[in-house]
């Protein structure tokens, strides 16, 4: 049975959305809400992450696996650079997803309510925002988007139980560098991460590409503590 990753996304996204919502209602909610302490939140999420990784190790074995789709082997020659079709599709999908998320957060009532919750939970609740609904939806969306990212990346990376740990620091750096809570920032941050990584790889040393990224990351935080597009004083 072979399902194209393009179709798989349509399955993966709703499934993970559901999974995220269940996770929130069953576990997160009991710990996160009403607690300003970070320790329990962190313990919980890290614990869940480890459990999932280990379980997937039992089921799928720790081996690397790769899929081959026609996209991976098709390359476009743009003079100075080669771009594989898979990467181009990944770019298109991430562009589309970011745009949708941005429109959702900025243009719909639900999205506005979500942002209001971030700014001031108490006031938002007083204005009639249902915090439980918002949080459940937010965790679900977050899981679904991560799933879409995974499905797309797997067309040109290998997949194994610990694979998430490779992308976790990169995505975190992208988000914080761009400015937390800002879709445009995350998008630009992601591009900066990629460019800095590749530039360090080409011009300094391939082995040092993540070290180069860390240097740029810390420099940006020193100059703009809340990220490139972040509002001062957020968080």
């Amino acid at each position: 049975m072979a399902i194209s990753p393009a179709i798989a996304i349509l399955v993966v996204a709703p499934l993970l959305f559901l999974f995220g919502m269940i996770l929130y209602r069953v576990l997160f909610e009991r710990v996160v809400i009403g607690s300003t302490e970070l320790v329990p939140q962190l313990s919980l999420t890290v614990g869940i992450s480890f459990t999932l990784v280990t379980i997937s190790q039992w089921i799928f074995s720790p081996n690397h696996r790769a899929i081959t789709v026609p996209w991976t082997t098709t390359y476009y020659d743009l003079g100075a650079v080669f771009i594989s079709q898979a990467q181009l599709i990944a770019f298109g999908v991430s562009l589309a997803v970011s745009l949708l998320l941005w429109l959702f957060l900025g243009r719909t009532d639900f999205g506005r309510a979500m942002r209001a919750m971030v700014d001031d939970r108490d006031v938002a609740q007083m204005m009639g925002v249902n915090s439980r609904k918002i949080y459940t939806f937010a965790v679900g969306t977050s899981a679904a988007l991560a799933g879409v990212g995974g499905a797309i990346l797997m067309t040109y990376y290998t997949v194994f139980p610990h694979v998430g740990l490779q992308f976790l620091p990169l995505s975190f750096v992208a988000v914080v560098m761009g400015g937390m809570g800002n879709v445009l920032g995350a998008f630009v941050g992601g591009i900066v991460v990629g460019v800095v990584q590749q530039m360090t790889g080409v011009y300094v040393s391939y082995q040092l590409q993540n070290a180069g990224l860390m240097v740029v990351f810390i420099l940006i935080l020193l100059v703009r503590p809340s990220g490139l597009f972040g509002k001062e004083g957020v968080l």
Partner: protein, 350 residues
């Protein structure tokens, strides 16, 4: 617990632990379990300084542990410098890294520090894997066997290692106790409890947190050198890996974050438990990981203040048995207002 009882209890525990190899730990396997537990007690105590007392959660403490281990190991294999000396540059590296990370992230509140330390550990792991010329990459650094060479931090039996790590854990306990009772420790805890109020009173929050973080990082680095010499080996995953970071934090969290005894109890409880589980289910890989995860999740949900809070919880359970009318009302009120940080605003109200 009063301060004298803390010391007395610690001394008794130290005596028991010091005597263990004479009657309980008959082979190097069981001794290894306690050595491992004591190493994590030490790491947990180090973590507790910045994350427990200071309230700044470091989720990448393995980074400092790994820096200590890698620095002394590489100095030994490349330049032949004894780890007794090499552990000092290791600590310096850790302090330096701590300052670089702390300076931008402490100026922002909350999540940033947690995330920056977390990322730092992961990035160091990737660097250690990929910068093969320096770190020898994935296979890790192996310490050459020298037999019994005390001058090179290498012994041919587990005994000396046992007493070194026991001494280190005892030292870290004393440091923690000193920090808790010092002006510096009060500042840290004040910043954790209410940063704005503490700053208003003139506490330099950035400086205090940086000091705490540097101390904590140096302490972790020293344990890194020890474990590397004990195992004669360090690799990217065990040195910088997320699992090591989480284990460090876990020991303190399960025991009780910010409590003097937290990491001690957490480490002595959790590590042997995980080892037992691993030995029991040796055919399934990752049993310890699942066990740690389960303990983490359960602690988060049911015991957010850790094992040390169990006596308090029992005391609270028992309290309602006192008939309500017998409860001395004024005392209760003053305790409550004390907790809220209020002075008697309306003494005539009752």
């Amino acid at each position: 617990m009063s301060k004298d009882r803390d010391l007395l209890a610690a001394f008794l525990l130290l005596l028991v632990l010091a005597s263990l190899p004479w009657w309980a730990l008959k082979n190097s396997y069981t001794m290894g379990i306690v050595i491992n537990a004591l190493a994590f007690v030490s790491l947990g105590l180090a973590w507790n300084i910045i994350s427990g007392f200071g309230g700044q959660l470091s989720m990448g403490h393995a980074a400092f542990y790994g820096l200590g281990g890698y620095t002394s190991a590489l100095l030994l294999t490349r330049l032949g410098i004894t780890p007794w000396v090499g552990m000092v540059p290791g600590m310096v590296m850790a302090v330096f890294a701590g300052l670089i990370l702390g300076y931008p992230s402490f100026r922002l509140s909350g999540v940033y520090f947690k995330l920056v330390t977390f990322t730092f550990g992961l990035i160091l792991e990737i660097v250690a894997r990929s910068w093969i010329n320096l770190t020898e990459g994935d296979p890790g650094v192996k310490i050459p066997l020298l037999g019994n060479a005390p001058a090179m931090y290498q012994f041919d039996s587990a005994w000396p290692y046992y007493y070194i790590i026991l001494g280190l854990a005892a030292l870290y306990f004393l440091i923690s106790r000193w920090v808790l009772r010092s002006r510096f420790g009060f500042y840290l805890q004040a910043l954790r409890d209410d940063q704005v109020a503490a700053e208003t009173l003139g506490i330099n929050s950035l400086r205090m947190k940086l000091t705490g973080f540097a101390l904590s990082a140096a302490m972790a680095a020293l344990v890194g050198t020890f474990v590397t010499q004990y195992l004669l080996f360090i690799d990217p995953a065990s040195g910088f890996g997320m699992f090591t970071s989480v284990k460090i934090a876990l020991v303190a969290i399960v025991g009780g974050t910010g409590a003097l005894w937290g990491p001690v109890i957490g480490g002595l409880f959790l590590i042997p438990l995980a080892e037992l589980a691993n030995a029991q289910f040796s055919n399934i890989t990752g049993v310890d990981v699942v066990l740690y995860s389960a303990v983490l999740i359960l602690t988060a949900m049911f015991l957010p203040r850790g094992l040390v809070s169990i006596p308090d919880l029992l005391r609270v359970r028992r309290a309602p048995q006192v008939a309500p009318e017998e409860q001395p009302l004024p005392e209760q009120k003053s305790r409550l207002s004390g907790e809220l940080g209020l002075t008697e605003a309306n003494p005539k109200a009752e």
